[in-house]
Structure formats: C-alpha cells, structure tokens
C-alpha cells in the first residue's frame, strides 16, 4: 500500500472530509478529533496491514502526514 492509498483509509478512520484531507491536515483541527481516534488508527493499521504502530510515537503526531510517515517507516522496516 502506498501513501496515496493510505490517505483515504486514514481519512475514513478519522471521520475527516476526504476532499479536504491531506498530509498537511492538522489533527487537532478535525471536528471528530479525540483520544479514541488514535486507537482507531492503531486498529486500522493492525487489521489492514498487520502493523503494530508505536503508541507513544503516534501520540506525538500533529499532522496526518506525520502519521503517514510513521506508517511508511514501519512498512519499509
């Protein structure tokens, strides 16, 4: 899965408007942003890609792009 494929998945998980969602989206600006969303990103990656994301690194992400970079790191590791 490439970054371009991941973006719509991430948008759905974060309940973001797919038209306005991009790497530069600031997470705390999303209308449905809360602590549960992090867990949903973790589940998405676990179920779709079999990746276990590092929770403390994920907690530090400010933008969608930073989450995608974490996932890419995991995929290439």
């Amino acid at each position: 899965m490439t970054k371009a494929d991941l973006i719509p998945h991430l948008a759905t998980t974060l309940e973001a408007d797919p038209m306005e969602f991009s790497e530069s989206t600031v997470l705390s600006d999303l209308p449905h942003w809360d602590s549960m969303r992090l867990l949903e990103v973790i589940v998405l990656m676990d179920e779709q890609l079999g990746l276990s994301l590092n929770a403390s690194q994920l907690s530090k992400c400010q933008t969608a792009g930073q989450i995608l970079a974490l996932i890419e790191d995991k995929l290439s590791a």
């Binding site: 809360d34 602590s35 992090l38 589940v43 179920e47 276990s52 994301l53 929770a55 907690s59």
Partner: protein, 351 residues
C-alpha cells in the same frame, strides 16, 4: 507422618461470588458536562458503559468490601466463622497501614485464627488472587477462603479527565473459594499463565501521594485532548494501554491453551477483564471468538478494575450463560503492566 493416614488431597474451587456497587450513579450526561466534543451517546457507543457507581466521600474500599462479603454471607453459601483466610486486592486502601484485610476481618467477625493480607494489583488482580487461593488451599493452609477485590478509583480521578472518568467505576466483589476432595476430574482452577512488565509503569499511574512524591502543588495540567488532572490523580495513556493489551492478551490466550492442552473451541465462555467495549471488541475479533461465548458486562458499572471478572461471572450466571461444569477462560490485564490468564471449571452454587 505421625499417623498412618494419608490426608485426602484437596482441590480449590470457586463456590460463590457476590458484588456490591455504591449507591451514587454517574451517568453519561454528567460525564460529558463541560466536554462539548463528547455526547452521552458517543461515550456509550465507544465504551459500552451507560453508568458507573461512585463511592461517597466517606465510603472507602473496606466499606465496599464488607458489603460485598455480607451479601455472600446473606446468600447462605458460607458463614463468617467458617472463613480461615482473606485475600484482599486493592490499590485504593483505606490507609497506607494497617492492612485493609485486617479491617474487614474484624468488621465481619471472621475468626482470629484466620490469615488475612492485602495485595496490590489492578486489572490482573483477580487472576493472581485465584492463583494465591489455589496455592493456599491445595497445600492445606486454608479450607474456606474469601478472595475480595475492592476499589475506589473514583477518588483518584479528576472530574476534568473524561478519559478516565468515563471508564472507571467503584465496586467490590467477594468470591468464596473452598477446598473439595480431589476426584478423577481435572483441576477446578488452573493452569495459570502470568506476566509482568514494569516498563509500562508510567502509562497507568497515580504519580503523587505515595512515598516517591508525597505532596504536590495540586496544579491542574491539561493534555492535548483537553483532559485536566493533577499529579495526585490517575493518569492513563490510553493508546499505550490499548496497544499493550492488543499485543499481550492474544499471546496469553495462546499460552494458556497450550498449557491446558486444549483449543479455543473447547472453551464454553470467555470472561476477560472488562476494560471497555472498544478494547474487548477488538480483542474478540483478533482472537476470532464467537460473540455468544464472549461476555461483555460493563454497561451498568464501567471498568471496576479487579472486580470486573467476578462481576461478569455473576452477570453471566444470572443471564443463563454460565452453567455448572462450564470451562471458562479468565484473562486479566492492566496496570503494572501485569497480566494473567487461567481456566475455571465453574462450580458456582456448591456448598
């Protein structure tokens, strides 16, 4: 041996369980007051919790424990004078010292000849308690033992922290564990799988109030999700605890199945620590456990820490989902990190 008679080997079994919830109810309307981004429906949808029970200001762990034990005595399953050991699991004791188990021995009129001790564990506590109880009974040190779990986590929770306030509820549970003569059948409790990883200590912690940091300024701090708490309050890193559980619980289940030489299909009922519905749903899916065999029992009480498993057992029995001789898998996991898993062959209702 002084006499030539061999003692009859004894096995430990759960004979009965009762629980007590404090009267004050905290519903989702009140939890979401001052948190515009959350609605009561959304809390219920994510956590599976409709309401929690909260101990009153002057109500402590020993008070909840006494009420749970009195329910057990009132059920006719045992009398205080028959109890010869109390194991009490709490992380919110009445005092640093004395031991809460000693307080309840006196208040319940349990004989002076009884042993009593507290042990400090959270959501894994019930499993460890069953392990300790089995050890005491099967080595002949106890015959009729009370395993009591009692928490007032609400006293550690800041009203401004919706993350913890929406999940945890206060409760106590009392489980009677008795010695029965060994038959050809397998153990009633066990085998056990245990695990500990203190590297996760900082992710579920009350940082101040103990000896490491007895006093604080009481300054309120906000996190990135707008939750507010002081250092005397419970802190939970939800994402870390969630990934810990997803990583650890399926492994423990596999280890237990191997140790017990059985498969997932041989298990009649799964009773996991009732952390929250979201976590339980994810664990169930990951383990491919059919929902009719998987107990979710936190709607009316929330995450009651070490009491979730006995409460879930009691509710499953009341709903007709748990029957005599059922093979039940119990898994506890959480603060520490600490986790444990075991099987019980359900004998609730024996005298």
């Amino acid at each position: 041996m002084i006499e030539n008679m061999q003692p009859v080997p004894m096995k430990a079994t759960i004979a009965a369980t009762e629980y007590y919830l404090p009267e004050t109810v905290l519903d989702n309307d009140r939890v979401t007051t001052d948190h515009a981004e959350w609605t009561p429906e959304k809390i219920y949808d994510k956590t599976g919790i409709r309401e929690r029970h909260i101990a009153s200001t002057d109500e402590c762990s020993s008070d909840l424990a006494v009420l749970a034990c009195e329910k057990l005595f009132a059920s006719g399953k045992c009398k205080p004078e028959e109890i010869d050991f109390i194991l009490l699991c709490t992380q919110s004791p009445d005092y640093f010292l004395p031991t809460t188990a000693c307080l309840i021995q006196h208040r319940l009129g349990i004989p002076l000849s009884a042993g009593a001790l507290d042990f400090n564990l959270g959501c894994s506590g019930y499993i460890f308690g069953l392990g300790l109880a089995k050890g005491l009974i099967e080595t002949g040190q106890a015959q009729r033992l009370l395993l009591v779990t009692s928490e007032t986590y609400s006293k550690f929770i800041n009203d401004g922290d919706i993350g913890t306030r929406s999940l945890f509820g206060d409760a106590a549970a009392a489980t009677l564990i008795v010695a029965v003569e060994e038959t050809a059948a397998s153990d009633f409790i066990g085998p056990f799988v245990y695990g500990t990883d203190g590297s996760g200590a900082q992710n579920l912690i009350v940082p101040a109030g103990g000896m490491r940091k007895r006093t604080t300024t009481g300054e309120l701090q906000s996190d990135r999700f707008g939750n507010r708490r002081t250092e005397k309050d419970l802190y939970m890193n939800g994402a870390e605890i969630f990934t810990f559980a997803l990583r650890t619980v399926p492994k423990s289940v596999d280890q237990l199945l191997k140790k017990a030489e059985c498969s997932l299909a041989d298990v009649d009922l799964f009773v996991f620590h009732q952390a929250n519905k979201y976590m339980l749903d994810n664990l169930r899916r990951k383990l491919a456990i059919p929902s009719e065999k998987f107990v979710i029992a936190l709607d009316g009480c929330g995450n009651t820490v070490s009491s979730t498993i006995p409460i879930a057992l009691k509710q499953a029995e009341a709903e007709g989902r748990l029957h005599a001789n059922n093979k039940v898998m119990l898994v506890g996991f959480g603060v520490g990190y600490s986790w444990g898993a075991t099987f019980v062959q359900w004998q609730g209702g024996i005298r």
